[in-house]
Amino acid sequence: MKSLFVFRETHNLHWFFHRGLGLPTFADFPKEMPLIMDAAAQYHACSIENWYEDFQDVTLRTNIVKIPQNVLSYFRADEMILPSECYAAQAENGDWSEDEDEDAVQVSVYGALWWCSNDSNSALFSSSLPFRSSATL
């Protein structure tokens, strides 16, 4: 409040005319500190990887995993194709019945492999693995 008051008092027209300065221009007014200074820097500061350590005592426990470049491009793509790993996971859980199995589409576009060790990488990049497409969900 105080700074606002000073700002008004010192920069009214009267004050300028009184000193023979003529009409004030924009340059005569002190710049208010803009609230949004640098959007990228603010995004950076608000990214969870950058604040989590400072606040981990008072927030939910979190594991943070960096996204590798190939997975990032998979996430950004519009198609909704789940990688074969999911298919395997569902088969293990047993809630992926035989009938639905026939609807599974074979797609070989993405080998979206996640934080996998080398042994599984080659298998996931091979061309005839069953991916599930959005059509069968």
Binding site: Y43, A45, E49, Y52, D54, R76, C86
Partner: protein, 145 residues
């Protein structure tokens, strides 16, 4: 074999997922239970692929940024009336509102002074001068104890 799977196995309750900035709240509908609780790998991919919010996040700052997925401990049944958004300007708490602001919850009125006091105390103890920006907003969840 798979770090990600191990992580899911460790926590049978499941977890929230979140990109650098936002949680995929627009993809709530896609998994069974209509919640953001992710337990299995396929749920995880579905939520990510179905969420426009998350996609915006992953495109936000160009390719030089480190994009992350955060797996956060799942807390069920957070009452919407217990979430408060707090606004900070120049390292001072200047305002508090409900996270879901047009909603009104009767306890806001009944416990008004207590809420104000607790939120301010929390700010002084844990938030003030600890965040790298002097102007920010954050959200609190009030717990019963």
């Amino acid at each position: 074999m798979n770090k990600n799977l191990k992580l899911f196995g460790k926590r049978s309750v499941g977890c929230f997922i979140k990109a650098n900035w936002h949680a995929p709240i627009d993809a709530k509908w896609i998994n069974t239970g209509q919640s953001l609780c992710v337990k299995q790998l396929d749920e995880f991919y579905q939520v990510i692929k179905a969420s426009d919010i998350l996609k915006d996040d992953l495109n936000r700052l160009g390719d030089n940024t480190d994009y992350v997925i955060a797996f956060r401990e799942y807390v069920s049944n957070i009452h919407p009336g217990s979430e408060f958004r707090c606004y900070v300007k120049k390292n001072e708490l200047i305002g508090i509102s409900s996270r879901w602001w047009p909603e009104f919850f009767p306890h806001f009125l009944a416990e008004r002074s207590q809420i104000l006091m607790e939120v301010q105390r929390f700010f002084l103890d844990h938030i003030q001068n600890k965040f790298s920006l002097e102007n920010c907003a954050y959200t609190l969840i009030a717990c019963s104890d």
